[in-house]
């Protein structure tokens, strides 16, 4: 629905199969104005193909989070083009972007960001509520998503009753319950010990392969980036280099 609406005014057809799922062209982002203006992105070009597993790396202030916010349709570029499935996202308004997130994107955060005092099932159901699914369909899809992350036995537990790793699994279930095209993960293992981190990364890898979900992940841990197929390095508001066809399991080299 949104793609049709957003695409209608653009006179441009849906992207052909050769086009990347995501295309950034000369994207800049400035915060503030005048003397205190800060240029977070200085002209980023980036193509991401459907089905890829991308790790975004770089020191803090390099622009990786800003880029993720733009890719997640949570923020808009100051200038430049952002095409998602051939649609100019920078031309969409706030609510159109929200509907796009609802339909095509799933989010996993460092701090899990589950609703407190709310059962795992209800947390996972939340996106379906906004989508307007019936109760029965909601239950079934949410339980299915919990099963995928191996927590269907824990459906009635609240975040307070779950470990960090389990909470992040619930968050992943919430992100994939709508069967999105893209899963955006912002340092998903940042709050977890290494053992749990590996479990989460294996889960993401599995989802990427089995469900063909494009995964975009911000991380500063090379061990985690090792799970990705493409590693994008950011520096000073620009893409420094891209390791394409990165062999999964190999720790990317840091410069």
């Amino acid at each position: 629905m949104l793609a049709a609406r957003a695409g209608a005014g653009q006179g441009r057809a849906v992207a052909s199969s050769a086009d990347p799922l995501i295309r950034l062209r000369n994207v800049t982002k400035a915060y503030g104005s005048g003397a205190t203006q800060f240029q977070a992105l200085k002209g980023v070009d980036l193509d991401i193909q459907a089905g890829d597993f991308v790790a975004v790396m770089g020191p803090s202030g390099s622009g990786k989070s800003t880029t993720m916010n733009i890719l997640g349709c949570l923020d808009v570029p100051t200038a430049g083009e952002f095409l998602f499935k051939g649609v100019h996202i920078e031309r969409l308004d706030r609510d159109q972007r929200a509907l796009l997130r609802r339909k095509y994107l799933g989010f996993v955060f460092q701090g899990f960001n589950l609703l407190a005092r709310t059962s795992a099932l209800e947390n996972v159901e939340l996106p379906l509520l906004y989508r307007g699914d019936e109760k029965k369909a909601r239950r079934a899809l949410a339980m299915g998503a919990l099963e995928k992350v191996g927590l269907d036995q824990w459906w009635d537990h609240t975040p307070g009753e779950l470990s960090g790793g389990q909470q992040q699994r619930v968050a992943i279930a919430r992100a994939i319950v709508t069967q999105p095209d893209v899963l955006l993960a912002d340092e998903p293992t940042g709050n977890l010990d290494s053992e749990r981190s590996v479990e989460i990364m294996e889960l993401l890898t599995d989802l990427n392969r089995a469900s063909n979900i494009t995964v975009l992940m911000v991380t500063h841990e090379p061990d985690m980036a090792a799970f990705a197929r493409t590693v994008v390095h950011f520096k000073d508001g620009l893409v420094e280099r891209i390791e394409r066809g990165h062999q999964q399991g190999v720790v990317p080299e840091m410069r």
Binding site: G72, R102, N113, L114, L115, Y130
Partner: protein, 402 residues
């Protein structure tokens, strides 16, 4: 869509029970106070009206003096004369009957029992002007009235004190200087609105009282029945003119008698209680507004506290309107809940208080509906601002909020 939003709001309320309760406490008290006050006010008005209407409508009472009190000092104005009674009955249009009264106090004695009571000399008209049926016996005949025979009709209090449960009609008892045959017993009237037991009375023909008790032919009080077709105010004015003339009151001087209209008193008292009800209700309404501000405060705090939650909702695809509606519906649901609890508490309080106030319990649908609607409107008005604030949050900032 609407069902989803309502579900989200109700879940959120259920998840924060204590906070929800504290939020709506102001509304509970406000609605409870308004409904209680207005209902009790109406019940009081109804009670006053029923007491006044027990005195009879379309009746004028005429007394010497300038009010119920003695007033001022100086010599007491003279009582009325029998000729005044006849004059009013015959010369004023719209008068159906005039019942004169002459009063004395005396001790009634029957066998061992004695009881101090009021002797009320009157005519048969008094039983019809101000309807007062008998429960036993008969009224006196015109012949007995004319002759001033010692026949008595006693009030229930007197009957109880002299005869206990026994038969009173047909007995002869002693009252003051005379012996009197009891021919009837009056029905119970109860306490008068202004205190005093209306049933503590012995009625007999006025001539008997004048001859044997007061020793003169004066009339202390007149009850005038007014024809329904006439305005009591007009009849009152005519009587006033007539009495001024008969009592030789020169122009510019005040009346030395006063006429009061039971309907007028009823209207005045009703007006007073209605006004008081409104004032108290207005004060209670202020607490309702304060309750609304309480809701706004808590909702604003809640928006701040739940910033991250709002960020999550926005990130997973809630549009601004959905977040706004969620908070608005939450505020309205809370205030409506408060309103409902307030209504229930009000009914309980009314149920508990009405017997103490000796007024009838009554359920007034109108004020309940108004108070409930007001609580809903308060939810909308005071919930809108916090809701708009929540909806306008930037999802990135909201997610970062600690």
């Amino acid at each position: 869509m609407g069902g989803t939003i309502l579900l989200l709001a109700l879940r959120s309320i259920a998840r924060h029970k204590l906070r929800s309760f504290l939020t709506i406490l102001g509304i509970i008290i406000g609605v409870g106070a308004v409904v209680t006050m207005v209902t009790l006010g109406k019940a009081t008005t109804a009670a006053v009206q029923s007491q006044i209407s027990a005195l009879g409508t379309n009746i004028l009472q005429i007394r010497p003096g300038q009010g119920f009190g003695r007033g001022g000092g100086g010599p007491r104005p003279p009582d009325f004369k029998p000729a005044d009674v006849t004059a009013i009955a015959n010369q004023v249009a719209g008068v159906t009957a005039v019942a004169p009264q002459a009063q004395a106090t005396a001790t009634a004695i029957y066998e061992g029992a004695n009881w101090s009571t009021t002797v009320n000399g009157t005519t048969d008209a008094s039983f019809t002007v101000q309807p007062w049926p008998l429960v036993a016996g008969r009224r006196w005949t015109p012949a007995e009235e004319q002759a001033g025979k010692a026949v008595c009709i006693i009030g229930n209090t007197v009957r109880q004190n002299l005869f206990r449960g026994g038969q009173a009609v047909g007995q002869r008892f002693r009252i003051g200087p005379i012996s009197c045959d009891i021919i009837g017993v009056l029905s119970t009237r109860g306490q008068a609105g202004f205190g005093g037991d209306q049933d503590d009375v012995v009625a007999m023909p006025i001539k008997a009282v004048q001859r044997r008790f007061t020793g003169n032919r004066d009339v202390r009080l007149m009850l005038v029945g007014v024809d329904q077709a006439y305005s009591t105010a007009a009849v009152q004015a005519s009587i006033q003119d007539l009495l001024r003339e008969r009592r030789n009151i020169t122009q510019g001087k005040d009346d030395d008698f006063f006429i009061f209209d039971t309907k007028q008193i009823s209207d005045t008292l009703t007006g007073t209680t209605t006004l008081l009800t409104r004032i108290v209700a207005a004060v209670a309404a202020i607490s309702l507004v304060v309750g609304g501000i309480g809701i706004m405060n808590i909702m604003l705090v809640s928006v701040t506290e739940r910033t991250r939650e709002i960020g999550i909702r926005l990130a997973i695809g809630a549009v601004a309107r959905e977040v706004l509606m969620q908070f608005l519906v939450e505020a309205v649901a809370l205030s409506c809940l408060g309103g409902l609890i307030g209504l229930v508490i009000a009914q309980l309080v009314i149920l508990a208080i009405t017997p103490l106030m000796q007024v009838p319990f009554l359920f007034d649908p109108q004020i309940n509906v108004i108070a409930f609607a007001t609580s809903a409107i308060i939810g909308v008005v005071f919930g809108y601002f916090p809701a708009r604030r929540a909806a306008s949050l930037n999802p990135i900032d909201a997610l970062r909020h600690e």
